[in-house]
C-alpha cells in the first residue's frame, strides 16, 4: 500500500519511455499526469470540504445542516456545482469587462501552481524544486492580484472596498508568514521540501518552533481571508466584497480557489511543522491526508470561535505584534542553534 501511487507513476513513466519518446517529452507528459492527479484530488476534496464545513458549522450551532439531498446530504455540494453551471453569467455594464473576466481565471492559477511542491506522500512531490518553500511563498502571494482585479474591475463600491481590504490584509500578513517559515529553513538548512521532511524524522518542527507554528497559523488564516479575518468579504458590511458582482461559474471559480488555497496552506503547514507524510503503521499518503484534515479542522474551528475583528485592529495586530514577534523568533532560533553547536563542540 505504501508505494501504491509511486508504483503507478513509475509504471506510467516506464510505459512512456518504452514508446520511444525523448526524455523531455516523457517529463512533460509525467508533469501532465501529476497535474491531472492533483486536480482530481483537489476538486474532489473541495466538493466535500464545502459539505464538511457546512456540517461542522451546523453541529457547532446545534443545527442539522444539509441533510436532504442523498444520504445525510452527501450529494448537496455536487448538485450545487451543477446548479451553478446553469446560472446566468452577468457582467455589469459599468464594469471593466476584461479585468472583470480575467480576474476569475487568474484566481485559480496560484492555487493550482502551489500544489507543484506539495508532498502527497513519500516520494510523491510533483516537482521537488531546490527552492521549494520559496516557490510556494512566491506563487501564493500573487493571488492578491486577482482579488485586486476583481475588486477594481467590478466598478462597484462594495467590491472596491473589499478589494482594497483584501490587498492590505494579504500583503500585510504575508510578512509574518514568510518570516515564520524562516525558522524552519534555518533548522533544516534547505529550501527543498524533501530535505525538510527528512530533517523531521526524529522531532517534528512544531516542537522546536512552536511560536513559528502559531504565527503561521494566524497569518495563514488571514491570507485565506477566513474568519476571524474575513473583512474583505464581511457579509454584513460589504455584501460579498470583491465577488459582489460575480455570478454563476465565475463566482464558483473564486469559491473554488478559496478552498483550494485552504488545502494548499494546510498541506504546507503539515509538511513544515507536522512532519509531512511520515508516521507509523499507515501508508505515508494516508498520514498526509490525515494531517491536512487536522489543519483544515483547526481553520474551521476558528471560524466559529472568534468574532470578526476591526480593520485597524487587524493591521495593528500584524504590524505591531506579529512582525516584531516573528523577527524575534528568527533571532531566538539563531541564538539557540549557536548554543546547540557550542554544546556539541565542548562535548567532544
Amino acid at each position: 500500500m505504501e508505494n501504491l501511487f509511486v508504483n503507478i507513476s513509475g509504471a506510467l513513466r516506464g510505459w512512456f519511455t518504452g514508446m520511444g519518446l525523448p526524455p523531455m517529452a516523457v517529463e512533460a507528459i509525467m508533469a501532465l499526469v501529476f497535474l491531472v492527479a492533483i486536480l482530481a484530488f483537489v476538486l474532489l476534496n473541495v466538493v466535500y470540504l464545502v459539505y464538511l464545513e457546512r456540517k461542522l458549522s451546523a453541529y457547532m450551532q446545534q443545527r442539522l445542516g444539509p441533510n436532504r439531498v442523498g444520504p445525510r446530504g452527501l450529494f448537496q455540494t455536487l448538485l450545487d456545482v451543477l446548479k451553478l453551471f446553469g446560472k446566468e453569467d452577468i457582467i455589469p455594464n459599468a464594469a471593466d469587462r476584461w479585468v472583470f473576466r480575467l480576474a476569475a481565471i487568474l484566481v485559480m492559477v496560484p492555487a493550482i501552481m502551489a500544489f507543484a511542491v506539495v508532498p502527497f506522500g513519500q516520494g510523491m512531490i510533483a516537482v521537488d524544486l531546490n527552492i521549494g518553500i520559496f516557490y510556494f511563498v512566491a506563487v501564493s502571494s500573487t493571488a492578491t492580484i486577482a482579488f485586486l482585479m476583481a475588486g477594481w474591475g467590478s466598478n462597484n463600491k462594495w467590491a472596491l472596498l473589499g478589494g482594497m481590504r483584501t490587498v492590505a490584509q494579504m500583503v500585510s500578513y504575508e510578512l509574518p508568514m514568510v518570516l515564520s517559515l524562516l525558522g524552519v529553513v534555518m533548522l533544516a538548512g534547505s529550501l527543498r521540501i524533501s530535505d525538510i521532511m527528512a530533517a523531521q524524522k526524529t522531532v517534528w518542527f512544531v516542537v522546536l518552533q512552536p511560536v513559528a507554528f502559531l504565527i503561521y497559523l494566524v497569518a495563514s488564516t488571514a491570507e485565506l481571508n477566513r474568519q476571524p479575518f474575513d473583512l474583505p468579504e464581511g457579509e454584513q458590511e460589504l455584501t460579498a466584497g470583491p465577488f459582489t458582482e460575480y455570478s454563476g461559474m465565475r463566482y464558483a471559480l473564486f469559491f473554488l480557489a478559496e478552498y483550494t488555497n485552504m488545502i494548499a496552506v494546510s498541506a504546507i503547514a503539515a509538511t513544515l511543522f507536522l512532519g509531512g507524510p511520515q508516521g507509523p503503521w499507515l501508508p505515508s499518503w494516508l498520514w498526509f491526508v490525515i494531517k491536512v484534515y487536522v489543519m483544515i479542522g483547526i481553520y474551521m474551528w476558528f471560524r466559529w470561535t472568534f468574532p470578526r475583528i476591526r480593520m485597524d485592529h487587524l493591521l495593528a495586530f500584524n504590524w505591531k505584534f506579529l512582525v516584531p514577534l516573528s523577527l524575534a523568533n528568527v533571532l531566538v532560533t539563531g541564538i539557540g542553534l549557536e548554543i546547540y553547536k557550542w554544546f556539541q563542540t565542548i562535548r567532544w
Binding site: E27, A28, M30, A31, L32, F34, L35, L39, L84, F85, G86, K87, E88, D89, I90, I91, P92, N93, A94, A104, I105, M108, V109, I112, M113, A116, A126, V127, F134, N155, N156, K157, L160, M164, V167, A168, V171, S172, E174, L179, V185, M186, G189, S190, E245, G248, M249, A252, L253, D312, L315, A316, W319, K320, P324, L327, L331, G334, L337, K341
Partner: protein, 117 residues
C-alpha cells in the same frame, strides 16, 4: 531545467482550467440580459458618483512598509539556508541587517504610518 518545464505546464494548464470551466458553463447557461440585471449592484439603490476615485492613503503607506520588508525576506532566505555552515560571523552580520530594518519599522511606527486614520 526539466523541473521548470513541469512548472510551465502547471502554469498553462491552470490558465486553461479557468477558461475551460467558463466555456463549458457558457454552453449550458441561459442568456437573458436586461438593463436592471446589468446595472451596478448597490442593495437596490441607484449608485451615486464614480467608484474609481482616489483612495485612502493608509493603504498606500502599508504597501510601502510591506515593500521594504518583503525585499528583506528575500535576502533572509539564502542566509537562513546557509546559516548552520557560516557560523557566528554571518549571524552577527544578519543581526545588524535586521537591526537596521527594525529601526525603519520603528521610524514608520513613530511617524504614524501604521496608524489607521
Amino acid at each position: 531545467m526539466e523541473q521548470y518545464l513541469a512548472l510551465g505546464i502547471f502554469l498553462v494548464v491552470a490558465l486553461v482550467f479557468g477558461v475551460v470551466v467558463l466555456v463549458v458553463a457558457g454552453l449550458v447557461r441561459p442568456k437573458k440580459p436586461s438593463p436592471e440585471k446589468l446595472s451596478t449592484y448597490e442593495c437596490g439603490l441607484e449608485t451615486q458618483g464614480p467608484t474609481w476615485v482616489q483612495f485612502k492613503i493608509s493603504y498606500f503607506m502599508y504597501a510601502l512598509v510591506f515593500l521594504i520588508f518583503d525585499v528583506e525576506t528575500i535576502f533572509l532566505y539564502p542566509w537562513a539556508v546557509q546559516f548552520q555552515k557560516f557560523g557566528i560571523f554571518a549571524f552577527v552580520e544578519m543581526i545588524i541587517f535586521i537591526g537596521i530594518l527594525v529601526v525603519g519599522l520603528w521610524y514608520a511606527w513613530k511617524e504614524g504610518a501604521l496608524e489607521w486614520l
